[in-house]
Structures are given as C-alpha cells and as structure tokens.
Symmetry: C2
C-alpha cells in the first residue's frame, strides 16, 4: 500500500525514526532520551496528520505487531516502545546500535 | 456550573480520585501505584465520556491549573499528575496522606 511504502522510505532514509504523539508523555520521554544521547531522531507526530494519523498507526501495527506509541526504529529495525528503548539504553545496547548507524 | 458541582461531589465522596485516560501510560502508572499501596482509587476515564471528556478536562484545568492527565486528588486536595504523585510516594508522604483519609 502507499502508506506502507512511505513508512519503508522513511525508515530507509533515517537512522532513527520515532512515530509519536506530541502530547503523550511516553513519546516525550523517548524523544528526550535520544536528545540526551546527542542523536536527532526523525519524528512523525501522528496527532498532527489528521485522519492519516490513525491510518498510519494501523499500518505500523500490521508491520510491527505494535499498536501503541511511541514506536521506535533504529537502522530500519523495529526497537519497540518507550520501555523497550529505555531498557536497551540501560543495558548499554542502544548506544552500540546507534554507533553502527550513519548518523550525521 | 453543573460539571464543577459534579467534580466537587466526586472529590467529597471519594478519598482518592484520579481523572485519567484509559490508554495513557502515565495514567496507567499512577493507577498501578495506588493499587500497589493497596488503595482503590475512584477513577474517571475521560476518554469514556464522549464529548463530556474534553469539557471535564477544561473544568479541571480551571479548578486546578492543570490541563493534563492523570489528575490526582487525595482527600479533596489536588496532588498533581503522575510525576508529582510518584515524587510524594518516594518521599514517604503519599502513604502518610492516605493514612489520614477514611479509606475502606
Ligand atoms: N510499554 C509501552 C506502552 C505503550 C502505550 O501504552 N502507549 C499508549 C500511549 S502512552 C498508546 O499508544 N495508547 C493507544 C493510543 O494512543 O493510540 C511503551 O513503553 O511504549
Ligand atoms: N508531568 C505530568 C505530565 C502530564 C502530561 O503531559 N499528560 C499528557 C498525557 S501523558 C496530557 O495530558 N496530554 C494532553 C491530553 O491528553 O489532553 C505528569 O506526570 O502527569
Ligand atoms: S498518553 Fe500519557 S503517557 Fe502516553
């Protein structure tokens, strides 16, 4: 589908991608975490997309099995939500994954 | 206003009140915290109230200065959101406040 292609392009073009909702504290936490690490994620605010937001969220669920936000990808790979990302960070694995990416 | 009266009645009738959104992780966290302490809060899910939800959220903002969820009250007193409640818990003050309430 067109939306699926657009997601795949976004993931191919950006080392860190976060599908987020701007007023959601878990989304804010994961964005702040990347900022703290010094990484600038590509953020898509689903609540800023009108009717396309829920549609995109549905396609993401089909692609990843995850229906919730935030939905985090590194190097095109599905990482998970806020809790998953924080866990990886505390294990030291997040920074390792990021170092393997081509981040400007 | 009628909504303001209904809020005041809820706060008078219940020692612990949480205005919440059912799919919000911060709301889930604060509900889980009270459960862990062994307290059963009176929970109002704003997303279950149709058009009244946003209206209630606006009245709460007028009454408390807080526009966000979760919005927590103990003994009719405005406590704050998730972060504020967790802070009070870690300082030991939350359990003290709850012990001063008439909780069944
Ligand atoms: N453990 C997950 C929780 C994800 C979650 O429950 N997200 C909520 C918002 S905080 C959600 O997507 N709710 C449904 C929605 O907003 O459509 C994480 O850490 O990301
Ligand atoms: N620090 C506050 C954050 C509260 C907050 O930003 N809540 C968000 C949801 S997590 C909110 O109410 N957003 C606007 C809305 O849902 O109407 C807390 O700990 O409760
Ligand atoms: S909407 Fe409240 S934490 Fe996500």
């Amino acid at each position: 589908s067109r939306m699926e292609d657009s997601i795949k392009k976004t993931l191919a073009d950006n080392p860190v991608v976060i599908y987020s909702k701007s007023w959601c504290s878990y989304s804010m936490e994961v964005k702040a975490l990347f900022k703290r690490i010094g990484v600038q994620p590509h953020v898509i605010e689903l609540d800023h997309l009108g009717a396309q937001g829920p549609q995109l969220q549905k396609v993401l669920e089909r692609l990843t099995g995850q229906s919730t936000v935030p939905n985090v990808f590194i190097g095109g790979k599905h990482i998970g939500g806020c809790t998953d990302t924080v866990k990886l960070y505390r294990k030291g694995e997040l920074v390792t994954m990021l170092s393997e990416q081509d981040i400007n």
